[in-house]
């Protein structure tokens, strides 16, 4: 065998005569390089990155930029069914869920209402939400600068971006109170953004939604209801008007949807409400891949007690009227022989299946009935309100409401919302707040304080942008 590192064979073979010649040649080569080398440090654009203007020249890449935003909302912030989302955090923060996990987990702080300004989960919720807002603004600016997108495509994507921008600000204003409304990608402006009065924020949300409504297509192109259309904008508008106490507008927006019975209708069977083919769904998230379980299923379902992370609270379970079919269809009991716990089983799959029949639902028709019921009650139309409320009650196997006065009816709507919309994106917390009932409903929680109605502005944000001061009360 020949040795690998035999000095003789490697070195002695070099002919002495050749050496100067090789070197002279090498020198010449270097000099040539030196003279032409300013270009040496030019590099090509990396293969994994696409220049921003190019993104918005093709409908495919522009759409990829838009769906990235939905993927973010589904997987990592606000509307996600994962522990980071409002369904989990606000479910614990209010009275829907009991926390069983590790006390070091961020959800523990929400459950005990001991969220401080330094809380990382609150900071992440803030920054990841504004990241989504940035992405919508980048969409809007990219489309505006594009010359080759078709008008239809440009309108659709513009409408979607405006819709998401409004949606995110809607949640932020309800969680943090006065907030900056960000409409540009320019960091020089955004880094000194000031908080706007809540009324002003609602004005901007409504303006964005109206514009989105005018640009969005009437029909959702995929047929899977996974992209917002005109009606999705209507659904959010109805909710926003309700929160903004514009009762007529709220009723009208809800009616626009409820009247489109060809597309939207309640499912008679409660077990089909959260299937991806449900006709009551207005907007749902396309799954990570066709076959993955929803984040909600992953989070809530457990098979043995005590629960590893979370279970439905006794308060929620006790609020179901006897015979309420929703308790049977949408909650599931787990027992260890001595004790019994319940989890939210609106979604049935908790692990990947060959083809998932459930998507995470964001907007559904039931809420629109309840929005209209509440708006009508507040506007004095108690009869219309009862009709709407009874539609939801009857479907759950319950008799018509016994509420008579306006107050009774309002409370009946609140109670109905609790058992209909539980563990869906923090409805319960926002409802209690809107009704001014946070203190009375949550005072039995040891950590609850009146000022917990608003989250703190994250401490890190206050440090980086003095215009966000002052901090919310209580922090």
């Amino acid at each position: 065998m020949k040795p690998i590192f035999n000095p003789k064979s490697i070195l002695f073979k070099i002919q002495k005569k050749c050496i100067p010649v090789i070197f002279m040649g090498y020198c010449l080569a270097c000099i040539t390089l030196l003279s032409a080398c300013d270009n040496f440090v030019e590099t090509d654009q990396p293969s994994s990155q696409l220049s921003t203007p190019v993104v918005f020249e093709s409908p495919t890449t522009a759409t990829a930029a838009m769906v990235a935003i939905y993927a973010q909302l589904r997987s990592s912030t606000l509307l996600t069914g994962s522990p980071l989302g409002l369904s989990n955090q606000m479910g614990h923060y209010a009275d829907e869920l009991t926390f069983y996990g590790d006390s070091e987990n961020s959800t523990s702080g929400f459950y005990t209402n001991s969220v401080l300004a330094s809380n990382e989960a609150v900071a992440t919720l803030w920054t990841s939400s504004y990241r989504v807002v940035y992405n919508t603004n980048a969409m809007l600016e990219g489309i505006a600068a594009s010359s080759s997108l078709s008008l239809d495509k440009a309108n659709q994507l513009t409408g979607e971006a405006l819709f998401v921008r409004a949606l995110v600000h809607f949640y932020l204003v309800n969680l943090y109170g006065e907030i900056p409304y960000i409409t540009t990608t320019d960091y020089r402006q955004n880094r000194v953004a000031s908080r706007l009065p809540v009324a002003k924020v609602y004005e901007l949300i409504i303006a964005d939604l109206n514009k989105a409504y005018s640009l969005l297509p009437e029909n959702e192109e995929s047929g899977e209801r996974v992209r917002p259309n005109q009606y999705t904008a209507q659904a959010l508008l109805a909710r926003v008007y309700l929160f903004d106490e514009k009762w007529d507008e709220a009723s009208n927006a809800a009616s626009a949807l409820l009247n489109n019975t060809a597309t939207y209708a309640l499912q008679d069977d409660l077990n089909t409400v959260f299937l991806n083919t449900s006709s009551s769904t207005i907007w749902q998230f396309s799954p990570f891949f066709y076959g993955s379980a929803t984040e909600e299923g992953n989070l809530f379902i457990f098979t043995a007690g005590p629960p590893p992370f979370t279970a439905l609270s006794d308060a929620l379970l006790n609020s179901f009227e006897p015979m309420d079919q929703r308790k049977i269809s949408w909650t599931t009991a787990v027992s260890d022989g001595n004790m019994t716990w319940y989890y939210a089983s609106k979604y049935k799959d908790n692990s990947s299946v060959s083809f998932s029949s459930e998507y995470s639902v964001v907007f559904r028709l039931e809420e629109q009935y309840l929005i209209r019921a509440e708006a009508r009650t507040r506007a004095g139309d108690l009869i219309g309100a009862k009709e709407d409320l009874n539609i939801i009650r009857n479907r759950a196997g319950l008799p018509n409401t016994t509420a008579i006065s306006q107050d009774e009816l309002l409370n009946a709507v609140l109670k109905e919302r609790r058992v209909e919309l539980f563990t869906e994106h923090g409805h319960r917390f926002f409802d209690l707040k809107r009704y001014g009932k946070l203190d009375s409903a949550l005072s039995n929680k040891i950590g609850w304080n009146t000022t917990d109605a608003l989250f703190p502005i994250p401490e890190t944000e206050l440090l980086l942008n003095p215009n966000l001061s002052p901090q919310n009360l209580g922090y």
Partner: protein
Amino acid sequence: MKNSSLINGSRTIVYSFILGIYLFSSTAVATNRKHYSTFQQQTHQISGIITDGNGPLPGVTISIKGKTTTSISDYDGQYTIAATPADILLFSFIGFKTVEIISSSQTTVNVQLTEDATTLQEVKVNTGYYSVKESERTGSIAKISAKDIEKQPVTNVLAAMQGRMAGVNITQTTGVSGGGFDLQIRGQNSLRSDGNRPLYIINGVPYSSDPVGFGATATVMPTLTSPLNNLNPGDIESIEVLKDADATAIYGSRGANGVILITTKRGKKGKTTFTTNYSNGIGKVTRFMNLMNTNQYLEMRREAFANDGYTTYPASAYEVNGTWDQTRNTNWQKVLTGGTANIMNLQSSVSGGNEQTQFIFNGNYGTETTVFPANFGYKKGNARVNLNHSSENKKFGINFSAGYTVQDNNQPSTDLTTISRRLAPNAPALYDASGNLNWENSTWENPLSHLNGKSLSNTTDLVANAVLSYQLPFQLELKSSFGYTDLKHKESSTFPSTIYDPAYGLGSEFSSLFTNTTTRQSWIVEPQLNWHTEFGKGKISILVGSTFNQLNGQQLVLAGEGFTSNSLIYDLASASTVTIMSSGDTEYKYQAFFGRANFSWSDQYFLNVTGRRDGSSRFGPGNKFATFGAIGAAWLFSKATFIKDGNGSFLSFGKLRASYGTTGNDQIGDYQYLDTYSSNGNPYQGTIGIETTRLFNPDFGWESNKKFEIAAELGFFKDRIFLTSGWFRNTSSSQLVGIPLPGTTGFSSIQANLDASVQNSGIELTLRTVNFQKKNFGWSSNFNISVLKNKLLRFPDLASSTYANQYVIGEPLNIVKVYNYTGLNSVTGLYEFEDFNGDGLFSAKDDRQYLVDLNPEFYGGLQNQLNYKGIQLDFLFQFVKQLNYNSASSLGLPGSRNNQTTDVLDRWQNQGDLGPFQQYSTGVNTAVSSAFIRYRGSNATISDASYVRLKNVSLSYTLPSYWLKGVTCQINLQAQNLLTFTSYKGADPEFRTRGVLPPLRIITTGVQLTY
């Protein structure tokens, strides 16, 4: 097979070499005979062995005083020379004291040479592109050599440098094997935490120190995997650290944070020598926290629930509500991290060569198990070869060197340190009666379940280089170096479903795998031209050269979830979903022209000018090029006549030197100036979404770092006392930083040049003394200390910038603004703080106004070396004076479900109690928990973390050579982190990162054979 043919091949060379020596010496003998015969004196052969007290000393010149006869000792230290009884034999060797012995009629003269500080000034120092005599250098360079490195039982090169160099601060980031080290030369220059890495050069080839790891795939490590673990300390001949402008400016844009030159061992001419070194030892965690036992813990919990107004314990409070046995008591720190790691290392080398060609071949294999209670380990193997050849006429030279390293690391995917400190002491048993993991009816997460998840990494790394040189006419030398590096790093973390409680029925469909494959290739070509001339008393050396360097990196990070079976967890094809978490190729190109001119006059005055023009692809169009340069001067005043003439002067050496210049920094990552979108790996409707890659800034340019230094080097009493003292001031301006941004911008930072200046200044002292020097006994010491000051000099509009609440002009960068803890309110039982703006409220912005400086005030080391006959004892104390976060900052709220240190027992219970700790709470009392959060962000949790550590002890004994004929045998005992003296309240004072495994105390024994 390979080995034997290698030996055969080299044997031929060795035989021819020996034949040459024989022919040479026989003529010498013949001449001498003629010469001496006239004096009627009989010459005789004298032979013997020359040692340095440690082992044989090859290359020693043996001569006869007043005569031309010389001989050189061979690889075994053996020599032969012919002399008459009246002759005086001189044994001389650079770095050692010359010994004179009258030959008389002895035929065997064994000599032990002792190191001589005086001649160390003649040693050449590598400065990268050129080398200078120690006495003539104008720059600031610290050096350690193989001798010091080999005494330490460490696997990482940076560990070997700790405490041994002035101005170099090194801290370990985890005790888990294969983990990393942080290194800063002369303080923090850049506001970017990842912009302070020095430039590493291995045998002339830049070695990228950018992390190769990825957060999700190296979950056990607190920092991303560093490629520097690839270097084998045993291969290294010397490490030089270039610190000032004069030394670093020739590295231009990449020199701002200092340059670390690593030179590997080279072959030596002489008989082919084999060296084998085997060592074996153990490692244990240095320090534990003093935590509560079950009684103390339960008392705390019960009191916390009572304080919070609970009348019955919540269902999930298993420790106190009777679910768990309240008589159990486990010291979880001992159980989970108190194991013993076994450490083994085997190193062999073959070296030899003749006048023209020398070679060395080094092989190394080491293993290290962990202190965790399971079978994990780290393995590292490497091979390195170095060949050196010059043509017969000495005109042409080539040096080739290549090293290949394989690392295999197998660790749990979770570091159990945090769990071990937090777990209730009455938590259930780890195993049930039948030996399975005990889940105690699903009431706890068995910490050992984490060990089912593994963090594996495998790295292979090739570094090769060749230097060709050719002597042209007119004293010109043409030289070129070529280098190539190729690194492949694969790491993975697994989270199989077996880490979950089986009662939950989670099968392999919940298992996940994260993999990361990073590869990196670079090449460099550096043609250079050298010219040297002398005229009268003057000497001029000029060097010009250029650099072409390219680095390509690829990274692919995949996540697989939902496996068919846990046995298939490493097979991504068996995963039901595979997501690409990160993928990307990067290309970095760099070019430069550099030059150096050195003038000296009568070996007394030296002037050194260096310059470099750099271009880097990391900058946008129009900003790619920049120029750097430095000037250095030295005056060797001990050679001046007025001192030299003062005979018997106690001053044996004196030099003053100064340097000034600029360097730069391009450690900003690639492509930061591009406005692009890239994939976010998150599909929707079957389409992978794309997202803005970064907030882009097309306009950022080079930052500059101006360095100034003056230093004095003084030797007294024949250099037996040698003092180097230097003062430096580095100012970096228009720093390239990721300026932090509030979340409303959508990003956390933007890359830009910050119009601010940061100054690092300091004093470095090195004192080397030879305390005792006799034939059989020697004692010498090395002491170094660095005192550093860091200051933000200038920052226009600081108040309106996003840094307003982070920095203060005139203060160091590493300050933290904290609440000022004023004490415990003995009435409310709550911590109280200073309300700086007096508004009655506490907000971080207004009331975290107390400044604490976390920079070490000073640091250094004291090394002692003693030898007596064949025994050598070496020990190093490392010391740091600093503040650091103590245990109160990492353990959670006292009263919550976290164990605490026993200090916390001194808490407030009733009005009038003085604590010092506030009342317990489970976390629901917002007043208590906000006071606690403020306490954690106050000066109360930052306390003295100064320490003195017996960093290294090495005891070795060389068996007398007559015991084993032809074999030198040395046995040694080595220890690392043996003792720590500190008043620090916490685990280990060295660590900045909390909740990671502290460094290990390592003790090994070894044997080294040379034949």
